[in-house]
């Protein structure tokens, strides 16, 4: 488990070999990558990249990925994965969005009901994974398809529009120059850091990912805790759906498509083990920023959407390959 940045740094300075350094600072690679890329983009774009405004643009675009990255970090710590996040966003958008538009849902309930619907969708993943024993990758691949199918069936080509102010504010308003969505995302990340590094929950998901039978033998409720990471991821997908709906002031059948790839790439790039047992919330934050920066910089340097997809996909492979390499050479 990762201590706070200070503790990690002390261990970093006190440790000997390179493998131990990597262990002490799992987000070391991503931090280096950020510095290098930042310099490269600044050089290429001639300063339009390196402005406060552009940094806020990056953060606003990345807020959704950070919100989901916190839940993904939890699931991945247990050795799991959730690739249904984008589809959960779609379902939440369809149900809550149409409820608001057609008037059968009062705007007061928009936020809690989005979180609740997301949590229920996540609970279905958790049930399939822990009670039925379906491997997380396949369980969430199933709901990735099924939830999106539901959204398309329910929405058709319709677009929900004219959302209430409270939802639009989540996506668009700013406080002291910072978008509300960024503040919400950062608050969730801080809470996630605390839960991961300071509470029993963080310890237990780490133990589960590290050695499930050890966790079972110590009478930790492995199934309930594992399932709960998917419930949390679902609830956070509800929050992310609100941010997206608010930003676009609409909801469509395609909402949230493709976010899962960004989220998984960010978490793995940040240094969280795809195989469980080791994770870092600071790394997730940095990974989300790296990917946000990469996309923003690529757009500014003229690379199109398809080039971004190519780079994103290859990045995931590179990050996992790097982890496998470190796992072979280092302990743990």
């Amino acid at each position: 488990m990762n201590g706070p940045a200070g503790g990690a740094r002390n261990r970093f300075l006190g440790a000997g070999g390179t493998a131990e350094r990597a262990l002490a600072l799992p987000f070391f690679n991503v931090a280096v990558a950020i510095v290098v890329l930042y310099a490269v983009f600044t050089a290429i774009t001639g300063e339009t990249f390196n402005t406060a405004n552009n940094q806020i643009t990056i953060m606003r675009a990345a807020a959704v990925f950070l919100i989901l990255g916190v839940g993904q970090t939890f699931a991945m710590t247990t050795g799991g994965i959730d690739i249904s996040t984008g589809s959960m966003i779609g379902v939440v958008g369809a149900i809550v969005g149409s409820g608001l538009e057609l008037g059968w849902m009062d705007p007061i309930y928009a936020i809690p009901s989005a979180i609740l619907v997301g949590a229920v969708l996540g609970a279905f993943n958790g049930f399939n994974i822990t009670v039925l024993g379906v491997p997380p990758l396949l369980a969430t691949l199933g709901t990735f398809v099924a939830y999106r199918g539901f959204t398309q069936y329910y929405m058709g080509v319709n677009l929900v529009t004219g959302l209430p102010d409270v939802v639009v504010a989540v996506g668009r308003a700013s406080v002291l120059g910072l978008p509300v969505s960024v503040i919400v995302a950062l608050a969730i990340a801080v809470l996630g850091w605390f839960v991961l590094n300071r509470t029993l929950y963080g310890r237990y998901i780490t133990a589960i990912g590290s050695n499930p039978s050890a966790a079972e033998a110590t009478r930790i409720n492995v199934k309930a805790i594992t399932a709960s990471t998917y419930v949390i991821q679902g609830a956070l997908a509800g929050v992310a759906a609100l941010v997206l709906m608010g930003r676009l002031d609409s909801a469509s059948a395609a909402m949230g498509e493709g976010v899962e790839l960004h989220v998984i790439a960010a978490v793995v790039l940040g240094g969280t083990y795809l195989f469980g047992g080791r994770s870092t919330m600071i790394g997730t934050l940095l990974g989300v920023y790296l990917i946000g920066m990469l996309e923003n910089g690529l757009i500014q340097t003229g690379a199109g959407f398809f080039v971004q997809r190519i780079i994103l996909g290859l990045l995931i492979i590179a990050a996992v390959a790097l982890q496998l390499q470190q796992r072979r050479s280092g302990p743990g």
Binding site: M1, T199, L200, G209
Partner: protein, 256 residues
């Protein structure tokens, strides 16, 4: 050994099937308080199955288990834990990426703030108590704040034993192959640790293939064959050859 009151553990006529295989066919065993009993036998004799039945990991199909003369139902590891039966598994049940104190207290942390799953453990107290336990068992771990993956096999075994006995509730401690896969020096340390536990009056069942180690730490030896405890002998009254002959079935219940 002086016997006062009923034995600590009495296992009577335990049966366990796996499909068509009768792994335990009426196994019985009795252990006095403070005694160390080694459980030996060939592969497939039922040692692990018997231990798992007492530990609740694979509950018995039928038979009776009594603790201090009182019949108990052990249907799960949780039941066994509540009764003070602690098991140390062969596969070194440690969470590799957590540190020593986190492993020693895993699932049983003292809390600084109580909030269910989101409780905050009292890490300062955990570190201090872990250091005290390691000290008492004369286990030397230079840097207990590192993940246990970095420790040697013997140190890891010691952490696992430290965790098991640290729990306080330890009527009976079961160790499954505690010296397997260790180097010579580490075996020596683990055996010394087991002897110091015995000197503290800890009741133990030690499952082992290694008769040399069994003779060094046990008061009595229970020999299993074909799903039954075929003989229980006092360690000081037999030789290794006697035990080997009991294991392979050369003598039938000769010294029982």
């Amino acid at each position: 050994m002086m016997e006062t009151g009923p034995p600590l553990l009495e296992v009577e006529n335990i049966e366990k099937r796996f499909g068509g295989v009768r792994a335990l066919q009426g196994a019985s065993l009795s252990i006095a308080e403070g005694e160390t009993v080694a459980l030996v036998g060939d592969n497939g004799a039922g040692k692990s199955t018997l231990v798992k039945a007492v530990a609740g990991v694979q509950p018995a199909d039928s038979g009776t288990i009594r603790l201090r003369g009182r019949e108990v139902a052990i249907r799960s590891a949780k039941d066994a834990g509540a009764l003070g039966v602690e098991v140390l598994y062969q596969d070194l049940a440690l969470a590799n990426t957590l540190d020593v104190a986190a492993n020693v207290f895993l699932g049983d942390e003292p809390l600084w703030l109580k909030l269910g799953w989101f409780s905050v453990p009292d890490t300062r107290r955990m570190d201090a108590e872990t250091a005290a336990t390691l000290d008492r068992l004369r286990i030397d771990i230079p840097d207990p704040k590192r993940p246990v993956a970095n420790l040697s096999g013997g140190q890891r075994q010691a952490v696992a034993i430290g965790r098991t006995i640290h729990r306080g509730r330890r009527e009976l401690l079961i160790l499954d192959e505690p010296t397997a896969a260790l180097g010579v020096e580490e075996v020596r340390k683990v055996l010394a640790l087991l002897r110091s536990l015995r000197d503290e009056g800890q009741t133990m069942i030690i499952v082992s293939h290694d008769l040399e180690h069994v003779f060094q730490v046990s008061d009595r030896i229970a020999v299993m064959r074909q799903g039954r405890v075929q003989a229980v002998v006092r360690t000081s009254e037999v030789t290794k050859t006697d035990i080997v002959r009991l294991i392979v079935g050369d003598i039938e219940d000769a010294v029982a």
